[in-house]
């Protein structure tokens, strides 16, 4: 991945071209939609994404500031962008089968996902707070629509609307925060803000403090940290499964990348540190504890995603050179496992005629052993069982938090990890319990089989050789 590709050496503004490329790709997809040719749409989409992938991968480590330095495509940004693009590709592959039944507006779905992706790319490469805001909006607005993708479904609509309301409400706070920071520092430039925060006295500046607080709150909404998590269970459940997968992977990755990019080099005032710790604790606790009683798989995944947010926040605490690497690894592997599981869910859901209760997995091992094993691997990875990527990820998080001396928070996290294992293992138990009565067989399209296998294999390979996924 890190190898330079000579052919693209010619380009100087690769990254810019990536943004352009993807935006254009979205438009193209919209046009293709007119011909109502699903295969072509997905194909073109994937091709474009791969092209973008190559563009980014082609000149790694080339730190070139863009648009007079409001964007910086450094290794950090590239790594996360690549993950997001890869995951989007996987989702598109899944989409081919997923949208096979849907009548119209398929192209729009793809296009909106691409637009949202552009937002994602922006916020993991911003060096200017304005871009942070714009990126988040570009990321979110398509999602509001996508969440409501199933026009005639009430739940889908409700999800969309709740997401929209809470989203824009949160954006308002984010804006206020940014404005206040600007007021304090007289600049939107991240570097300037960091410089400002470096002066201890400024930590006491109320305006600045408030600004930081509100900004973090605004971003925390995107990563669904308690108490800004209310949207996620409802939206996850209501939204079409593909979009849920997209939100819990690409969007989550982007949001975290942005979050960390924002606070990475800030000298956070102690007060804000405390607030982060409290937020972490609440998120860990609520996410896991509530997930215990979830029987709807998508809702379960929503709460477990909140729980994982908690673990990721744990990695934020304190500043450590290894943190970005940990985030990257954690998010990447989490995304892979989640995508695979959501595909399995969709298949099982079809067989169970729309039911989403975890019992629909029962007998999976009997009917589709390999799918069951792959699902098992992904669940174990989410649960953090050794030799899966999830274990390495959690382990590294614990190392970080203990290195930074957050012993009791870590103790809580460990306890919550046990809780987490419980609700994942319940799903495993279903999958490996023989089904009593005969049910509709679970049919697996080759592409889906491929994606599931990739995800299943990936979590193990990355778990055994974590070195492969390093920024």
């Amino acid at each position: 991945m890190r190898r330079c590709n000579n052919f693209f050496q010619a380009y100087r503004y690769t990254e810019m071209s990536v943004l352009v490329l993807l935006s254009v790709l979205g438009v193209v997809l919209l046009y293709l939609g007119l011909f109502n040719n699903r295969g072509a749409v997905a194909g073109v989409g994937i091709a474009g994404l791969l092209a973008a992938f190559v563009l980014i991968a082609s000149d790694w480590h080339l730190e070139s500031p863009l648009f007079n330095g409001i964007i910086q495509f450094d290794t950090y940004a590239r790594s996360f962008s690549l993950v997001m693009i890869v995951v989007t590709v996987l989702l598109f592959l899944f989409g081919i089968d997923y949208y096979a039944k849907v009548k119209e507006n398929v192209a729009e779905q793809y296009a909106l996902m691409v637009f949202s992706l552009v937002g994602g790319l922006l916020i993991c490469s911003f060096t200017n707070l304005v871009v942070l805001f714009l990126g988040i909006e570009i990321l979110s607005i398509p999602l509001y629509i996508l969440a409501g993708g199933k026009r005639d479904s009430f739940r889908s609509g409700e999800a969309a609307f709740k997401y929209f309301l809470q989203g824009s409400f949160a954006s308002a706070f984010l804006l206020m925060g940014l404005a206040l920071i600007y007021g304090a520092t007289a600049s939107f430039d991240l570097a300037a803000v960091e410089a400002y925060s470096a002066v201890p006295a400024n930590g006491q500046n109320m305006i600045f403090l408030l600004g930081l607080f509100l900004t973090i709150a605004g971003v925390a909404f995107k990563v669904a940290a308690v108490p800004f998590h209310f949207w996620s269970p409802d939206v996850y459940e209501g939204a079409p499964t593909l979009i849920t997968a997209f939100m819990s992977t690409v969007v989550k990755t982007a949001a975290f990348a942005a979050f960390y990019r924002f606070i990475a080099n800030l000298q956070l005032p102690g007060a804000v540190e405390t607030m982060l710790v409290v937020m972490t604790i609440c998120t860990l606790f609520l996410g896991n504890i509530v997930a215990l009683r979830q029987t709807q798989f998508k809702r379960l995944m929503a709460y477990s995603s909140i729980a994982h947010t908690g673990f990721l926040l744990l990695a934020f605490l304190g500043t450590d050179a290894r943190t970005p690497d940990v985030l990257f690894y954690y998010l990447g592997t989490y995304a892979l496992a989640t995508v695979g599981l959501f595909i399995v869910l969709t298949l099982a859901k079809r067989a169970a005629l729309g039911d989403e209760h975890i019992r629909i997995f029962r007998g999976l091992f009997r009917s589709n052993p390999w799918i069951a094993v792959a699902a098992l691997l992904m669940l174990l990875s989410l649960a953090g069982i050794p030799l899966t990527a999830g274990f390495v990820a959690k382990y590294r998080v614990f190392v970080l938090s203990l290195t930074n001396g957050y012993i009791w928070t870590t103790v809580l996290a460990v306890l919550m990890a046990v809780v987490g294992i419980y609700y994942y293992i319940l799903v495993v138990r279903e999958a490996f319990t023989p089904q009593e009565q005969e049910t509709k067989p679970i049919v697996v399209a080759p592409l889906n089989w491929l994606v599931i296998s990739i995800c299943g294999a990936a979590v193990v390979v990355l778990g055994v050789m974590p070195g492969l996924l390093r920024m």
Partner: protein, 627 residues
């Protein structure tokens, strides 16, 4: 070297026999099996004799190391045998009497289809017993100690179809195990104190020290002894052990195993010499047991039970001797008792055999005409145990009583009472079985030679056994004492300073009273045609005794029932109502907590917005507070 080989052979032969018999137990006929078993133990006997002849008492003893057993850190416990006067004496008793009883069993068991198994177990017992007496350190002795326990368990429950027998067997084993706890404690204590378990080393070192620990050690050893040798409070298993085939009772529960306790104490006599406190305890426990058991013997109607209780009381006498520090006397009585008690049991077995399994003396009587040999030999046994002059029992028992008198006349008096009771119930037994009219309805027939020969041999031994340790009084020079003195250091400490006159007087009194007892017994039982049997119409005290002082009931109420109750309730309450619920409770608590927290997610859109705002403000407050 050859001696070492012989020494090794002594336990090896019966072991081999046991293994062969056990593995071929379905192929062999009863007689072949019996022959083989007898041959093996007889071979061991021969080896013992050879060893005995080749043994020079002056050299003390020799240790034959077979192989390293447990050796780790500074713990060196070899699998080694000790050949010295003490072990040789016991070896001769075990193998000698063992051989006779094996021989006897051929006849006794010949129509039992599991005879080969029986002989296998009998041989295994002999092996274990020999390990016990030959062990060169406590742990080897312990091998035998537990081994005989196991064999006793197997043989008591030999007829496994009867639940009572199995119960008796388990009871015997468990009670022995209780004693073994003491034994192990003694061993770990001694090991920590001396860093070894070798008898020779410990005894040499110990004779110097004066250490309160010794009291603990000896008490623990004694607890072990009470278990094996059926002393208070652990004696109740022995009478029940009569459930086993009669030869077993003779070999294990009269002649050999039950004397293991005495052997152990003599073996470690040095330690006991250092702990006078323990000696007193032994003394009084022994006395109490002797009297108690004898009293119970007075009213038993089962021929084997009578003998069992008499065994317990005789063991009591031996412990008295130990308590008095006259170890040779104890060993002497062990020997003679082995002779006449084995004789009596085998005789009883012969009677039972003659009557086709009848054991109730109320259904016997007038047998002297039918089974002459048995009668004569049994008669000899009876007078021997009663201690009529010049019988083996006479010498051994009077030696003990002389020592007792030396300690205190009261003790002497108590023991005398015990002796008289012994005489009374033994002659009661003799008269009820062989005199008067036959009260049963079987057709008595004399037993085959294989059974009568051992009787005769043992009868002779019971008569002349006294010569082994003939006191100076009768022109002897206590051969056995001097022989044993080379092995058991304790014996050097004992000395009897009674004037000959006193001894004569004591013997006179004893003999006279004994004769009186015999006369009374004759008057009461010799001519009985029928017998008032049942305990119902006895006065309270008499009934209490007849019901064995209700020890079994007491133990059942004190230990067995509570234990069962505890077992049941620990499971049904402690485990299922407490431990498991606690374990599940944690999980369920977490889940129900989750159930509460998820109520926050009402699903109401504007409530969610409100909640967000509230949360934001809460966090804001936190932030500002901590600023």
């Amino acid at each position: 070297m050859t001696n070492d080989l012989l020494a090794a052979l002594v336990p090896a032969l019966p072991l081999v026999g046991a293994i062969i018999l056990a593995s071929l137990r379905r192929k062999l006929s009863a007689n072949v099996a019996g022959g083989l078993a007898t041959a093996m133990i007889a071979g061991a006997f021969v080896c013992s004799i050879l060893l005995f002849q080749g043994f020079d008492a002056a050299t003390g003893g020799r240790t034959v190391k077979l192989l390293d057993w447990i050796s780790i850190g500074s713990m060196e416990i070899p699998l080694a045998l000790r050949i010295d006067a003490l072990s040789l004496t016991m070896m001769l008793i075990v193998t000698g009497i063992g051989s006779l009883i094996h021989l006897y069993s051929i006849g006794y068991m010949h129509d039992d289809e599991r005879a080969p198994t029986f002989f296998a177990q009998l041989n295994l017992f002999s092996f274990a017993m020999l390990m016990l007496v030959m062990g060169s350190n406590f742990l080897i002795t312990f091998i035998g100690w537990e081994g005989v326990g196991l064999c006793s368990y197997l043989l008591i429950g030999f007829w496994y179809k009867t639940p009572e027998y199995n119960y008796a067997a388990r009871k015997a084993f468990v009670m022995n195990r209780i004693g073994d706890v003491g034994m192990v404690l003694a061993m770990v204590l001694l090991f920590q104190r001396f860093g070894t378990l070798e008898y020779a080393t410990i005894m040499n070192v110990a004779s110097g020290v004066n250490d309160p620990l010794m009291i603990a050690a000896t008490l623990f050893l004694f607890i072990g002894a009470t278990g094996k040798s059926a002393q208070l409070p652990l004696f109740t298993w022995l009478p029940d052990a009569m459930a086993g085939p009669t030869p077993v009772s003779a070999l294990i529960h009269a002649a050999t195993m039950v004397t293991a306790g005495i052997f152990l104490i003599v073996r470690s006599s040095v330690l006991f010499e250092l702990a006078p406190f323990t000696q007193d305890i032994i003394l009084w426990i022994g006395t109490a047991t002797a009297l108690l058991a004898a009293s119970i013997g007075l009213f038993q109607n089962d021929i084997k039970k009578v003998l069992a209780y008499s065994t317990v009381s005789q063991l009591g006498y031996m412990f008295v001797a130990l308590g008095l520090g006259s170890y040779s006397a104890a060993m002497f009585h062990v020997t003679t008792h082995a002779f006449f008690k084995a004789l009596l049991f085998l005789g009883a077995g012969s009677v039972i055999h003659a009557l086709g399994g009848e054991q109730d003396i109320r259904k016997m009587g007038g047998l002297k005409g039918h089974i002459k040999i048995t009668f004569i030999t049994f008669f000899i046994g009876t007078i021997a145990i009663s201690g009529l002059p010049l019988m083996s029992g006479f010498f051994s028992k009077d030696l003990i009583m002389a020592f007792a008198f030396q300690r205190s006349p009261v003790l002497f008096a108590l023991l005398l009472i015990g002796a008289l009771m012994t005489t009374f119930y033994m002659f009661r037994l003799l008269f009820l079985v062989f005199y008067g009219k036959y009260r049963g309805n079987a057709h008595p027939h004399e037993s085959p030679l294989t059974m009568t020969i051992p009787l005769m041999v043992l009868a002779v031994l019971s008569v002349v056994g006294g010569l082994l340790n003939l006191p100076h009084l009768f022109g002897g020079h206590e051969a056995m004492k001097h022989f044993l003195a080379t092995a058991a250091d304790g014996i050097r400490f004992e000395h009897l300073e009674l004037s000959h006159a006193t001894e004569w007087i004591l013997m006179g009194i004893t003999t006279m009273l004994v004769c009186v007892m015999i006369y009374i017994a004759y008057g009461r039982f010799a001519q009985k045609a029928t017998l008032e049997g049942n305990e119902a119409d006895m006065p309270f005290f008499k009934r209490l005794i007849a019901q064995r002082w209700r020890f079994d009931e007491l133990y059942r109420a004190l230990f067995e029932k509570p234990y069962g109750w505890l077992s049941t309730n620990l499971f049904s309450i402690a485990e299922q109502k407490v431990m498991v619920p606690i374990m599940n409770g944690v999980g369920e608590a977490a889940i129900s907590l989750g159930n509460v927290v998820r109520k926050v997610q009402t699903g109401n859109a504007s409530f969610h917005l409100l909640a967000m705002l509230v949360g934001l403000i809460a966090f804001l407050i936190i932030t500002l507070m901590s600023n």
